[in-house]
């Protein structure tokens, strides 16, 4: 069993397609859906984990792409800008999964682990410097 985090981007033609239903039913994938959004321009974004055999994940991804939905690396939905971050750490208590964390207590430098991020957006409002951004923020 493998897990991959995917960012799906739907265009006007694909936005109404029931992609998640087919991933579960046809490819036996376990879905953990973090966030989905459709804009007024009828464009959609969805961030989800898919868990299953390597083959099923590959087939599922091929299916998604065939349906006209584009796939991006998950971390592109959320961006932490190391250059802007001052490592104050104000985000730490607002990150429920410790994706933003301090590795070395001697330096107290804040680091970001994209695989842990669940796109809750809790850090975005709580960064005084605007170092955290997401395509899902209003």
């Amino acid at each position: 069993m493998k897990t991959r985090k995917l960012l799906l981007t739907f265009n006007k033609n694909s936005v109404e397609k029931p992609i998640v239903y087919h991933l579960v039913k046809d490819f036996d994938l376990i879905i953990n859906l973090y966030r989905a959004r459709i804009t007024a321009e009828e464009q959609g974004s969805m961030i989800l984990d898919v868990t299953g055999s390597e083959k099923n994940i590959a087939d599922g991804i091929a299916f998604i792409e065939k349906e006209g939905v584009s796939i991006d690396d998950a971390q592109k939905s959320f961006r932490w800008d190391e250059q802007i971050c001052t490592s104050c750490g104000n985000c730490l208590t607002h990150c429920p999964v410790d994706a933003l964390h301090i590795e070395n207590k001697k330096t107290m430098k804040v680091v970001f682990e994209p695989d842990l991020c669940i796109d809750c957006l809790g850090c975005i409002d709580n960064c005084p410097y605007g170092a955290c951004q997401s395509i899902f923020q209003e």
């Binding site: 001052t86 490592s87 104050c88 750490g89 104000n90 985000c91 730490l92 208590t93 607002h94 301090i102 207590k105 330096t107 107290m108 430098k109 804040v110 409002d125 709580n126 005084p128 410097y129 605007g130």
Partner: protein, 393 residues
């Protein structure tokens, strides 16, 4: 025993022995106070965090025809013009014109004086819009133009209160979230927020102001500035613990420096949701090791520095004076603290990482003979109490 002059001579010949306030702790543990006091010339301290009482004076030079500015906005942020014709003061917490503030609570407060100052130092272009009523010798009544820091005659940072000696630790004991200058505080003491560089912080390493006084040279965001006065709200008559280190706010410094020498990495505009805008300031202050006593003060460690935990939902706004508990910076930096039997996740508004960087830069500048010490010509006030404002009926 060493003198300022002797240490400055060693700096000039690039022979000064300099350690950061973090390094000195283990060094003295190993070598002992007596030996270390002979060897070490300077300990560098530093801090980086939002310091609201900050701002700058700028001078534009005269346009043709001349204007005597009576109202001014820089990138739509109001600047104070109640001084000479083309002098302005930009304050860190001034909010951009038309910002909805907390009308849509909690507001975002995206841009203000601190951001303007950061842009200036970064060399970016800004817009000046100014008005006047016009006089015989200053006939122009309106001006709109763009400028960068290089077009200004002077851009001098003047911060009435920086480097709070110690600071409150904030929690929210109410049952709804609150938005403060210490960040968002979750209900029922769901998180705890502190703001100090702890063992690196300047005035915690010189608790009785024996070397940091008026005239002391400081590293202000890269510029070589100085302490020009006691900071506003400077309070030295406070509860003190180990080494005489205050267990509450206490002393403060008023700092100034030339913005044309500054690095925008260490002056940053700050947006605090539901609270407002501010500016983070990076400061480094060298402590000359004149004798063993001064060295001993610099060996203070996070485990020995205590700070008061205050409920920002009730006790802070209502000035009850109540402290829920006392915690050390070692506990706070560990990520969780135990308050009244409850494990609470902790985080900081002040950046220890940036403070460490600054202490290292200042150390390198002193070692390279680029930064010299200045003997203060006046001590900061001792045994000074804090006054309150009484509201008269």
């Amino acid at each position: 025993m060493k003198t300022y002059d002797e240490i400055n001579e060693k700096i000039a010949s690039k022979k000064a022995v300099v350690l950061t306030a973090a390094e000195i702790i283990d060094y003295v543990d190993k070598k002992g106070v007596e030996k270390a006091a002979q060897e070490v010339d300077v300990v560098t301290t530093a801090t980086f965090g939002p310091m609201c009482s900050s701002g700058c004076f700028i001078n534009f030079g005269h346009s043709n025809p001349k204007i005597r500015i009576t109202e001014a906005w820089i990138d739509d942020v109001l600047a104070y013009s109640g001084i000479a014709a083309v002098d302005l003061f930009i304050g860190a917490t001034q909010l951009r014109h038309n910002d909805p503030a907390n009308l849509d609570y909690p507001g975002e407060f995206r841009f203000g004086g601190g951001h303007v100052i950061e842009k200036l130092i970064a060399g970016e272009e800004l817009q000046l819009f100014a008005l006047s009523y016009g006089t015989d010798e200053y006939p122009r009544r309106e001006i709109r133009t763009t400028f960068t820091i290089n077009d200004l005659n002077q851009a001098i940072m003047v911060n009435p209160r920086n480097c709070y000696q110690n600071y409150n630790v904030a929690v929210n004991a109410s049952n709804k979230p609150i938005y403060t200058y210490m960040g968002k505080l979750k209900p029922n003491m769901g998180n705890i927020s502190y703001s100090s560089a702890g063992q690196l912080s300047p005035l915690l390493n010189d608790p009785f102001y024996k070397t940091i006084g008026i005239g002391t040279s400081v590293w202000l965001a890269g510029a070589h500035g100085h302490v020009y006065a006691e900071g506003t709200q400077h309070t030295s008559d406070v509860v003190r613990g180990i080494n005489g280190v205050p267990e509450e706010g206490a002393g403060t410094l008023a700092l100034t420096g030339d913005m044309k020498e500054m690095d925008a990495e260490f002056i940053r505009g700050v947006s605090l949701k539901g609270y407002g805008v501010s500016m983070a300031v990076g400061v480094g202050i060298p402590i000359p090791i004149l004798n063993e006593e001064i060295l001993k003060f610099t060996t203070i460690a996070d485990r020995d520095i205590k700070a008061p935990v205050i409920d920002y939902s009730y006790d802070y706004p209502n000035k009850t004076g109540k402290t829920l508990a006392t915690v050390t910076y070692e506990e706070l930096k560990s990520g969780t603290v135990n308050i009244l039997g409850k494990e609470i996740e902790s985080s900081s508004m002040s950046s220890y990482e940036k403070a460490l960087t600054i202490a290292g830069i200042l150390k390198a500048e002193i070692e390279d003979g680029k930064f010299y010490l200045a003997k203060p010509f006046k001590k900061l006030p001792e045994n000074q109490k804090m006054k309150s404002l009484s509201v008269k009926d």
